[in-house]
Symmetry: C2
Subunit: 562 residues, 2 copies
């Protein structure tokens, strides 16, 4: 009888245990779980905090409504779960795990034939003075969740500072802001949501500001201010002070690998447990899965730390099968797909960002920004702004998308295109499901591929909003044209020195353009489709230096005149 | 100067003309359009009929709100559009098109260097007696749309019969039913939505019935009954009579190719214009695109007639570019992606259905049904029921999905997986964007791949709902078990002789199972996950003939006891 022991009973551990038992009913499968709960939907914490739902038990229930406690695991899964039990040491020679009851302190040793490590990750706690004050929390446990939910429900705390603008940070902002709390988000980097490139992240930031969240980027926290041992505010590195009755630290996590390290398992560059494609550690009888491991990036081939709930489940499934049946199942790695909801926006990314490509020293890639609605105007279109990256072979290697439109479908589409290593020539004629309730006749994703194809063919010469902004800031001379209609211009405009010249009048008003056909001209419109059409007309009329500002007004990450 | 003439100004024609001009500003591009309107959003007609929006002009407007009339095309696109002008003949030797003003009847000849045919399709009018009666319409033009919208707005007609259960048919049902009209849908085949396999189509049909639409499948219309020259009812082939004040014929379309045929162009098996990958007809100076052509199925390699708005646009783009610049751009074909909204359901398909595979004589494929929610219960999960098909090489070749959940993302994901020719081994570890507002930690699509992998590995032995139903009907002996909980069983159950044996009690109640370990046993639950778990337990206990009913109660296409 195969004795399979699993340390950790959340995503990866619970999945691994259940899969192991299904693969071999005769195996004795045991979970050691430090927390009192099992199978917690950790990604759901912010939504419970925010009051999207009120039934706390839903966070630990099966889809058919039964709480996944130790009885559930025993009866439904045939798995013994020892909750409130902490694993304190692994002895890989004796093949036992020592553990201790969290309440009583009783110690015992549990033998194993195969061990699966799924201890998850620990929240980073940066060494900020005052961090021990009351009212400062992370959001990584049911206890944290209960605390923040109480803050929401009791309505005593009126101001909260969230430190860290990653996924959890922005989700917490929304959760608390919805309940009438004034939220300030502090991000030491120059943008929130690091999986996005700067320009798209700024659009999300603008949206958060529009919803009442104060977003401060590029400044770190110097100190937590306290009164009577409780947090009363935050002092930033630039001296600003922000009062608050509670603070949330959301500055990432690190693999929880103390046990693994002590047991002599190899760790990787990010201190995650090193595993092979079978999710097997450097000890052949020990598998590992979830937020305590490193996995390959399928983009660079290098190990990365990718603590995502979906990947944890997939890895757990592989580890569980292999613990039961030997090395059969494999987990190849990640393409870094992620998504989050931020108020009325969605923000997602898959594959490589431009930042990531630059960091990896990748040459010859091409990026374009596309802005266009997710479906027809008459069906309640909402804007999408996306960025597509292709490599030197013109294969799609990255895609990110933000906006109030259906980002989820966009990123799922792109994730599969990246996984299939599709080329631009294939993407431009993609056969995606179309009907007016769901997309445009030419889906936003395909439109991005069309723009990419035009750019690669030299038909679409473009300039980024950042470059235009720099030119304007430096006072560089360029002729800026907005190709929209007069009413659109009156309603909203950049106000950076552009002249209105609607595409509908362009062919008749060519004389108003610079006489010098080599003069730098920049054209744009709401999304830059009319900007592109205008640039084509000018190119045909001998202008040699016409560029389209990618994404137009919709992708403009700076202040507008109106 | 290249004179490019385009016959037809809706999806393919308008796109081709605009693209041709952008590729070569010096070209003279002219559209001949019989209708008074241009660039009609034909796929939007049912939504205007149904009152999803009231601004009729939105059907013919650009995204920024300007009506796409002849002036718009002239000014914004540099394209001359001759509306209310009918092309009456093509002379490919003289390279002229003869046309006639619809109002005045004036005739003229327009010369071309390159011609693009985009005449679309005509609605099929089956030879049913009485079909000329007043009140019988199709839904293929703005005039049809106006007529049906009036029926909705005036509220005089109380009953409508829709003949044909394809995309347009079901969309019209919803549009009219929403406005309080009693709608009956008649479909001569044994199911609606022919792109779906029977079982999934039945689930959509059940949903339509639940919304008050009477759906009658498997019976054709024998005759339209009339009173004073207007339709008053429909007599079916089985003798039933259904009274109605209007009838909509939605029994498909056929390519509009009279002009092409007269000009000697080759037509294909479905009477569509035969084109090569450049969208070039048998005459090298004549391109064709949209609903008047045949294109390759990328699944079988054979030509098909695929009159879809999205493909028309993509083909128009290719035809336009090539008419301007010569043979450069290519259009490879279709994987038959489609989707529609049907009340609170979505229904979509991409790639091959099982029906299509059988018809094409394809061997060695495997299909599975998956039923599971689109996201966590606490985020307002909605069910999805899908069917995945893989070929003998275990590459995904088809996927269909129905239900109130986010089908659109599912089908888009699958379309890209099919385009990328991904194998099951790759799909099971797909890295899709996950967050609770958008999907489960293991996305429904990935779950389908997991079931497929289990089935291919022999871990999951299954039986379809249809086979179970046939066994029950025939009185064949089998032991049927429902693995859900008692409260679930009391709330809803099949009532086909099954016994309740919850998975949570199974290991303790093995003695209640048949003594004969070779007895046929069928297990299911709500979605058949617990059915699968139960089957694994029984297999481990020596039962040799245990099968899981695919999709469980959620995919059951027959009546239930409760």
């Amino acid at each position: 009888m195969n004795k399979i022991l699993v340390i950790g009973g959340s995503a990866a551990g619970a999945k691994a245990a259940a899969r192991a038992k299904r693969m071999d009913e005769s195996a004795q499968v045991t979970i050691i779980q430090k927390d009192p709960d099992l199978s917690m939907a950790t990604c759901g914490y912010p939504y419970y905090v925010g009051g999207v739902f009120d039934n706390r038990a839903a966070l630990i229930s099966a889809p058919f409504g039964v709480v996944r406690d130790a009885d559930y695991f025993q009866n439904n899964k045939g798995v013994t779960a020892l909750v409130s039990t902490e694993a304190t040491a692994i002895d890989p020679d004796k093949k036992v795990v020592r553990c201790r009851s969290v309440q009583g302190g009783d110690e015992r040793e549990i033998p194993y034939d195969k061990l699966i490590l799924a201890m998850g990750a620990n929240a980073n706690i940066p060494p900020i003075p005052g961090r021990e004050a009351k009212g400062i929390t992370t959001l990584t446990s049911m206890a944290d969740t209960d605390y923040l939910r109480r803050i929401r429900d009791e309505k005593k705390v009126r101001q909260v500072v969230v430190v860290g603008g990653g996924l959890i940070g922005v989700e917490v902002c929304e959760a608390l802001q919805h309940s009438g709390i004034q939220v300030t988000l502090i991000e030491a980097l120059d943008q929130i949501l690091p999986f996005l490139d700067w320009q798209l992240a700024k659009l999300v930031e603008q949206h958060m500001q529009s919803q009442g969240v104060e977003v401060i980027c590029g400044v770190g926290v110097q100190e937590f201010l306290t009164a009577n041992g409780a947090v009363s505010g935050v002092r930033l590195q630039d001296g600003r002070e922000i009062p608050c009755g509670a603070a949330v630290l959301a500055v990432g996590v690190q693999p929880n690998t103390a046990l693994a390290k002590d047991a002599g398992l190899e760790l990787g560059d990010f201190s995650g447990i090193r595993v092979n494609e079978y999710m097997q550690s450097s000890n052949p009888d020990i598998y590992a899965a979830g937020d305590c491991v490193e996995i390959p990036s399928l983009l660079t081939g290098k190990p990365v730390f990718a603590p995502m709930g979906d990947l944890a489940n997939l890895q757990g499934r592989v580890a569980g099968e292999n613990a039961s049946l030997g090395k059969r199942a494999t987990f190849p790695g990640t393409i870094h797909s992620g998504i989050c909801k931020v108020f009325a926006f969605q923000a997602g990314s898959t594959g490589m960002s431009e930042k990531m490509a630059q960091k990896a020293g990748i040459q010859g890639y091409t990026a374009v920004i596309n802005a266009s609605p997710d479906k027809p105007g008459f069906m309640g279109a909402k804007p999408l702004i996306s960025k597509m990256l292709v490599d030197a072979d013109q294969r799609i290697t990255g895609y990110q998308c933000v906006g109030p439109g259906d980002v989820s479908r966009q990123i799922a589409t792109a994730a599969m295109a990246i996984q299939g290593k599709l080329k631009v020539a294939e993407l431009v004629n993609s056969d995606l499901p179309y009907a007016p309730p769901f997309s445009l006749a030419i889906d936003h994703f395909i439109a991005a591929a069309h723009i990419m194809q035009n750019k690669l063919a030299g038909l679409y010469k473009s300039i980024s909003a950042q470059e235009v902004w720099r030119m304007v800031q430096r006072g560089e001379k360029a002729h800026l044209f907005d190709g929209r209609t007069e009413p659109e211009f009156q309603e909203m405009r950049l106000g950076i020195g552009e002249k209105l010249l609607p595409i509908g009048q362009l062919r008749a008003r060519l004389s108003e353009l610079p006489q010098d056909k080599n003069a730098p001209i920049i054209y744009f419109c709401k999304v830059s489709m009319r900007g592109y059409e205008s640039a084509r007309v000018l190119a045909a009329n001998g202008y040699t230096n016409v560029r389209v500002m990618e994404g137009g007004l919709m992708a403009w990450p700076y202040p507008r005149e109106k």
